[in-house]
Symmetry: C2
Subunit: 204 residues, 2 copies
DNA sequence: CGATTTATAGACTGTTTGATAAAATAATAC
DNA sequence: GTATTATTTTATCAAACAGTCTATAAATCG
């Protein structure tokens, strides 16, 4: 028994579009007008549904964590040999840095903004970084047990290093680092943990 | 035979202060009022001397390249064993990520901003990244000749990877990554090229 | 139908923004 | 001292900003 005039937009769809704008432009450079245009909803609907710009941004971060990071984590936790899953995750990263729009990663982009003084934002960034790091470390340990990775390697340190490197890579790609460089970097990182032939991450 | 009233501030000093504000807050979040206050010069003097906010930012980038990156490059090119110079550069990076204010790196911070659409900004970012990468690669090759680094390593790929990782590390540190993590990462990166004992980058 | 509830549309508010103009001030040259 | 030149000070501008208010439209319920 619903009442009143039904809204003619989908909340999730609108949130996803808002996320895209923040992703491409960053928080400060995104105006509420930009958001309205991209979300294709009127001003009042935006404020009624998402409270204000900052809250909408926080929800965009959460959604990104769910979708984008969720995909990486799921890939790392997939069935099968752990080393294959890790390689699949590298492939995801390669897609992210070589995609046409080069938007990088919403989280990586947010690290450099003044918004960082915002505790709620900060927490989300650290949480997601930890989430990736933990998943990678777990896969790495499994790969060691499965005999695909040298058990002498420090899984925690290596996963942290890869996390940082991918983070930096996303920023550099955004600024226009050539594909040859990004490939070099991903290959080198992957070689850090295994000796499989390189150039495994070229676009499929 | 100078004429007219002399200005009572030093251009370089003022530029350095402006650089500091951009560094900490980012371009968008920095207002002209912020700049005036930090530079301790009146509005008109700012516009007369530095044209406008964007031009001032470009000059700040150039100055940062000269000072901060110049120090890293000079460290890498110093006399003595190349491996020691590389280690010294790592120490510089460790200082950058563990300093109290955690401002990171002006360039690294700029990668994520919308300002990136600005071709002049983009060029400077790429130029400086290349500058560091080239210096590191050169030092690495020298260290190989001097027998301190495995000659089988791909100097170019490794230096690119370290460049990306340091870039990401600077962003993460800015968001509050604990010192234990940053140390882990720098140690792992350094171990990538040598087997010297780790924990070489703790604050002195 | 009429009352009620919710959504939309657009005008509007009070700040803050980057930037400019004009007046006032201070220092040198002659 | 006066003219000249440059700097500071103060006032001001139009545009953009996030966010609010009011009126209207569309749906459900009794």
């Amino acid at each position: 028994m619903k009442r009143g005039r039904p809204k003619k937009f989908d909340d999730t769809e609108a949130l996803e579009r808002a996320m895209g704008v923040f992703w491409r432009k960053g928080y400060d450079a995104t105006s509420v007008d930009d958001l309205m245009e991209a979300m294709e909803i009127p001003r009042q609907s935006l404020y009624r549904t998402f409270t204000d710009k900052r809250t909408l941004f926080l929800r965009a971060l959460d959604h990104y964590d769910e979708i984008a990071l969720g995909l990486v984590v799921a890939t790392l936790n997939a069935e099968g040999r752990a080393i294959d899953n890790i390689q699949a995750a590298f492939k995801l990263w390669n897609n992210a840095v070589s995609s046409r729009d080069r938007a990088g990663c919403l989280f990586a982009n947010t690290y450099a903004q003044f918004l960082l003084e915002d505790q709620d934002v900060r927490e989300r960034l650290m949480k997601s970084q930890k989430r990736i790091g933990t998943a990678l470390e777990k896969a790495l340990r499994l790969a060691q047990q499965q005999g695909d990775v040298d058990p002498a390697l420090d899984a925690k340190a290596i996963s942290r290093t890869i996390g940082a490197a991918v983070n930096g890579l996303l920023g550099l790609a955004r600024a226009g680092l050539p594909a040859a460089h990004t490939n070099d970097i991903l290959d080198t990182l992957f070689a850090l943990i295994t000796n499989r032939a390189s150039s495994k991450f070229a676009d499929s």
